[in-house]
Amino acid sequence: MAEVVSLGVIDDDQMLLDGMGAWLRPVRDLRVLRAARTVDAFLAAGAGVEVVLLDLNLRDHTVPADNVTRLRATGSRVLMISAIADPEHVLATIEAGAAGYITKDHDLVALADAVREVAGGGSVLTPELAFVLSRDRRPTRPQLSPQEQAVLSAYARGGTLHAAARQAGVAYGTARVYLERVKRKYSEAGRPTRTKLDLANRLREDRLELDDLGAQG
């Protein structure tokens, strides 16, 4: 039996907050510890939880990316949820350190899987997030190679990673590496590389990935 993940929910819809606990009850390894309608109220109520489900556009007009930053500062990981993808803010929250984005139309299994992935330190690249990233036209966007862009666009269409790799004309393992690299580029876009040591680490990682690529190819 896996450890229980402590969960927080921030959503301006009281009905959704009330329902979330009951909805997640059948999932044994997830427990909603706290729910609030604003980030202020959530933070005022106590210590950090492992994962916060954060509604993208809260009705108190707080800036989504700031909300992510504040929650991250308490040590929580953040998974963005919303009814509709608002590309500008989805991109901003991902760059502010949110570990993923998922629309509210997903079923319990998909949501629970995403939360577990985030709790384990990973990030969730749902097709809807891939779609937003693939259509990122901001001049300041992280630079993606043409192959990374191709795999990302294919994955955004919703197929399996296997099918996306086939569509982009690369091996499965290569596609996986590319998607990981896209995720990392976005999560790093919000925090500039500061020291030579960081830079050396990035270089080393890139080399490892290249080796990995060679092995796949």
């Binding site: 993808a85 779609f131 269409r157 919703g158 197929g159 399996t160 099918a163």
Partner: protein, 437 residues
């Protein structure tokens, strides 16, 4: 009593007319309330009758008409002499050779001139210049040939055609060149009849009349032509303005109709459901939740996309997604920046192909989920993919895909698009629709 409905019948009819009542009727076997909606969306709007673009041609057509009129006048102007001879009018010339040469040259040239003008509707400068030159020559020849006007019932045969040339120069050459040409023609006329021109002689009045006609007709036709062509230009400007007004009105009406369609769609689905829930008319049930999920998908698709406006394609796709819910298929749709103006047949082909592809997912893929992605291309085209993660099929054995492929391929090809179907066992099926090719 005869003719009176039973109360139950009236109730039944009443509930059938209302959305919520309709829902209550169907609650045991839920299906989308708007099974016939796509037909409404696809119905042809009557196109307003617009003036055709040949209006832009009015000045040119007016000018061609004037040229042909001039050609007709010229032919008529040749007629008096042959007719007079045929009728036995007395023939009385000073120099018969000159007279015949003057008429003959004028007749041969004028026939060529008129035939060319009638055929082409144009009077190029070289033709005009030649016309003026030949007419001047004929005026001199005929003037000398017919010189003894006393007692003659036939006058100078070159005068009528000369007036025709003056008219033509007024139409084609107005203003300076036309006046110069008519002064030259009048001068040549006077030169021709100079031997007969004695002060107080009977020919002076005739000569004065002819000179004034040559000069005056040039000015009058010049002014009238200018006015006529000005009005023709006005017609062009006015009809272009009218066309743009009508196009604007048509666009407005199309937008209005589209919005009405959206409202009706929302009224018959989301609003009916919310009303029913608010009244406590429906108990919480799996069917209600299924309906709510389907209508949430409908709304999500309708308002998805980062484009400026909800396009008809977006709404049509939303309806397709909505109907799939009844087949137990959840469709995750991502729609971005649809081009605002797509031909209706293209929207119909894309929508129909999507429906077909999703039907195939529901029937063959063995999965309850599919993804519909629609994006605009840089060239104003559209790419839509329908993708599932189901059991797929081997691309070599297109047993599953062939039927789907045929139906979709034909539809897309007919609308000028193309479709690609790809699949792999256990890796789902990938249908890409692209317009234009």
């Amino acid at each position: 009593m005869a003719g009176v409905h039973e109360p139950g019948e009236i109730d039944e009819a009443g509930t059938q007319r209302q959305g919520v009542g309709g829902y209550r009727r169907r609650v045991n076997g839920w299906r989308p309330a708007l099974a016939d909606l796509p037909r409404h969306l696809e119905e042809n709007r009557p196109e307003p009758t617009l003036p055709d673009d040949t209006m832009a041609d009015v000045p040119a057509r007016t000018f061609r008409l004037l040229v042909r009129m001039l050609a007709g006048i010229r032919l008529v102007q040749l007629l008096p002499w042959p007719l007079a001879f045929a009728l036995g009018v007395r023939f009385n010339a000073a120099h018969i050779g000159l007279a015949i040469a003057g008429y003959g040259l004028q007749a041969v040239w004028s026939l060529f001139y008129a035939a060319r003008a009638l055929r082409t509707g144009t009077l190029p400068d070289w033709l005009m210049a030649l016309d003026v030159a030949i007419t001047c020559a004929c005026l001199v020849l005929s003037g000398r040939g017919w010189a003894t006007a006393n007692g003659s019932t036939l006058g100078n045969s070159a005068v009528y055609p000369a007036i025709g040339v003056a008219l033509a120069s007024g139409v084609v050459w107005w203003r300076a060149r036309a006046i110069a040409a008519s002064v030259l023609i009048a001068a040549c006329y006077v030169i021709g009849i100079l031997p007969e021109l004695r002060p107080g002689g009977p020919i002076v009045a005739t000569a004065l009349g002819n000179v004034l006609s040559i000069l005056g007709f040039t000015v009058v036709t010049g002014l009238i032509t200018k006015r006529l062509l000005g009005q023709a230009e006005m017609i062009v400007v006015t009809s272009a303005a009218m066309l743009s007004v009508r196009e604007h009105a048509a666009a407005q009406r199309a937008r209005y109709e589209e919005r009405s369609t959206h409202y009706r769609l929302l009224h018959d689905t989301v609003l009916s459901t919310l009303n029913a829930i608010a009244r406590g008319a429906i108990p919480d049930s799996a069917q209600l939740r299924q309906r709510c999920a389907a209508e949430a998908d409908l709304l999500r698709t309708m308002i998805s996309g980062d484009g400026p406006a909800t396009t008809s394609l977006t709404v049509e796709l939303a309806v397709v997604v909505y109907h799939q819910a009844a087949l137990g298929l959840r469709v995750h749709s991502h729609i971005a920046e649809m081009p605002p103006e797509l031909p209706p047949e293209v929207v119909a082909a894309l929508t129909g192909s999507c429906r077909e592809a999703l039907n195939n997912v529901a029937k063959h893929a063995g999965t309850g989920e599919a993804w519909l992605t629609a994006q605009a291309e840089h060239d104003g085209g559209v790419v839509i993919t329908v993708v599932d993660r189901g059991r797929g099929f081997s691309p070599g054995s297109l047993s599953n895909g062939l039927g789907m492929s045929r139906s979709i391929t034909a539809r897309m090809a007919e609308a000028g698009g193309v479709s690609v179907v790809d699949s792999e066992v256990e890796q789902g099926t990938w249908v890409e629709l692209r317009w234009p090719k």
